[in-house]
């Protein structure tokens, strides 16, 4: 594989993982794949250590809340191949009130605070994390503020309701 393009990466991953990885799309040219929480660490280590892929750099970990879906939480990893400048996005969909997924701190040290931030705002528990505490919010907060059900301001305010604008 001389050229590392999205098609090449996808075929290569399919050979190795088969059904265990799925493709979500290529929004704005960035290949987005999904996997399950049982395979995520194996996939991320493979992406990092494989000689052809070399996604050595962890750019970001964050989460998204989709309250209407059965699997309501998506943990999103952005990884980057610095040798050939290719980026890749990996998503893991999780379900349950306390979603759990294994930690990536075993692969990258930098995942530590990114996962703490994700836990702090979404309540995603990263199993095996060495120090999973809140990081930006105060310690005695007992909600996870970036979940969609958590209101930004007084929910009884009526002057901003959509029906006043015909929506």
């Amino acid at each position: 594989m001389d050229k590392l393009d999205n098609q090449g990466i996808w075929t290569y991953l399919q050979e190795k993982f088969g059904e265990r990885v799925g493709i979500i799309g290529e929004p704005h040219g960035l290949l987005t794949i999904s996997t399950s929480k049982d395979d995520i660490i194996e996939l991320l280590s493979f992406l990092k250590d494989d000689e052809k892929l070399q996604f050595i750099y962890l750019t970001d970990i964050t989460a998204v809340h989709y309250p209407k879906q059965q699997k309501a939480f998506a943990v999103v990893y952005h990884v980057h191949n610095l040798y050939r400048n290719v980026r890749l996005r990996v998503k893991v969909f999780l379900e349950g009130e306390t979603p759990t997924t294994p930690t990536a701190t075993t692969i990258w040290n930098g995942a530590n605070w990114m996962e703490r931030e994700t836990y702090d705002f979404f309540g995603v528990v990263f199993e095996g994390h060495p120090d999973l505490r809140r990081i930006l919010n105060m310690d005695d907060l007992d909600v996870f503020p970036m979940r969609k059900e958590y209101p930004l301001e007084d929910p009884n305010r009526v002057d901003k309701k959509d029906f006043y604008f015909g929506r």
């Binding site: 704005h28 970001d60 996005r89 995942a111 809140r134 930006l136 005695d140 604008f165």
Partner: protein
């Protein structure tokens, strides 16, 4: 009440000094210590002058920008980005505009791109001036800081001429700029690239071969490239370790691929190398600004935004006299734009490293989810582990050279 207190002590990392025979004592550096240059705390266990272990506590100025952004239309998020890295707000502003433009597939005219490059490079110089100047102050050399600070003031005057604000600039709009650079702005930019080199040379003369400075910084907090990459470092501190990763080069935005500039790298990743990399980047930024000014001359005059009336606010006099302009004005202000459902990650080279915007849009009035990949936050997590075994005074110049900006750290 008692419940919450017990929870706090459970969650907070606290070292107990119960044993009077114990050699170690606990020292809090911060939250408002002058050495932290911002509001964050480091709880250190020290043995005499040496730090044995430390824990960083951050979040003192957390303002929930990601949550607020989920309730605001795109153009109202720009002022939030100002307050991330407030030493170089224009880079954040431009990064956000470019993220939205990528989502909406807006083509930006070349002249506007060059104008953006000028603004971003000026902001980078202003940020590096702060970092290197303060590093001088922390090592005991105050005068260099004052020399370069005057030039930072001049950069802020240019920003004031361009957008009316100095620190939290809110420069630009989605699709371009709110107004063209006026003649005074162009004159001042030209004056700046003439008057800054001698000042920077003088600044370098004070530090680069200064024996006290070298002995104070060389070999302090040296980081290997492997460590830096494992901790996801980016920006000047990563380049100081020898990794030539610069978003402007690997993922060019704003026509950076047309410019001729170098990516300075260090060798040992210590505080001295970080200082030198930042200094060299200021020289490169000056080169880029000079080239951008030349390129602007060749472009047709007077263009300062893309022709996208559905996303760019029309001039006010047209809103009063022109039906179409009024409709667009109303739609933009009420957030009634037709936007694609998509997700986009866009990164710019901020003054501290890769500043990324991860935007998920469901076609509504506001982003469904917006995440800031903040370089200070990612870079700073290595500070506590790398401080173990370090002298307190070394840890302080190490923190200073990481250039952690509290606004960017906490979002």
């Amino acid at each position: 009440m008692s419940k919450s207190i017990s929870k706090i002590t459970h969650n907070n990392p606290v070292f107990y000094d119960n044993d009077p025979q114990d050699e170690l004592i606990t020292l809090n550096i911060g939250p408002t210590h002058p050495a932290t240059h911002g509001v964050f705390q480091n709880v250190c266990q020290i043995d005499g002058e040496r730090i044995v272990s430390g824990v960083s506590t951050i979040g003192y100025i957390h303002r929930a920008f990601e949550k607020i952004a989920e309730h605001r239309p795109f153009y109202q998020i720009t002022p939030l980005t100002d307050r991330l890295n407030y030493c170089s707000s224009p880079i954040n502003n431009m990064g956000w505009h470019m993220t939205v433009e990528k989502l909406l597939n807006i083509e930006i005219p070349k002249r506007v791109q060059y104008m953006r490059v000028i603004v971003m490079e000026l902001a980078r110089i202003a940020d590096h001036i702060i970092c290197n100047g303060i590093l001088g102050v922390d090592t005991g050399a105050f005068s260099g800081f004052l020399y370069v600070m005057q030039e930072r003031e001049f950069i802020y005057e240019i920003f004031e001429e361009i957008c009316g604000a100095r620190l939290t600039t809110n420069i630009g709009r989605i699709g371009g700029f709110e107004r063209d650079f006026n003649e005074v702005a162009f004159r001042k930019i030209k004056e700046f690239i003439k008057r800054y080199p001698p000042v920077l040379e003088e600044f370098e003369e004070l530090f680069v071969r200064n024996r006290i400075f070298i002995e104070r910084t060389s070999g302090v907090a040296a980081v290997t490239p492997e460590q830096a990459l494992s901790y996801s470092w980016s920006g000047p501190i990563l380049r100081a370790t020898g990794v030539d990763y610069d978003v402007r080069v690997v993922d060019p935005y704003c026509s950076y691929e047309e410019f001729d500039f170098e990516v300075p790298v260090g060798t040992s990743g210590d505080v001295y190398d970080r200082f030198m990399v930042r200094n060299a980047e200021m020289w490169q930024s000056l080169r880029i600004i000079g080239q951008a000014l030349e390129k602007i001359e060749k472009e047709p005059q007077g263009i300062f935004h893309a022709d996208v009336p559905e996303f760019y606010l029309p001039p006010k006099e047209q809103v009063y006299n022109n039906m179409e302009a009024l409709i667009y004005h109303f739609k933009i202000v009420m957030g009634e734009w037709e936007t694609p459902k998509s997700e986009v990650y866009h990164a710019v080279e901020g003054a501290n490293g890769e500043l990324g915007f991860y935007l998920i849009h469901d076609g509504g009035r506001t982003p469904y989810r917006l995440h800031f990949r903040r370089p200070s936050f990612v870079n700073y997590q290595m500070f506590a582990p790398m401080s173990s075994g370090m002298l307190i005074s070394d840890a302080i110049i190490n923190m200073s050279s990481l250039n952690v900006i509290a606004g960017e750290l906490d979002a």
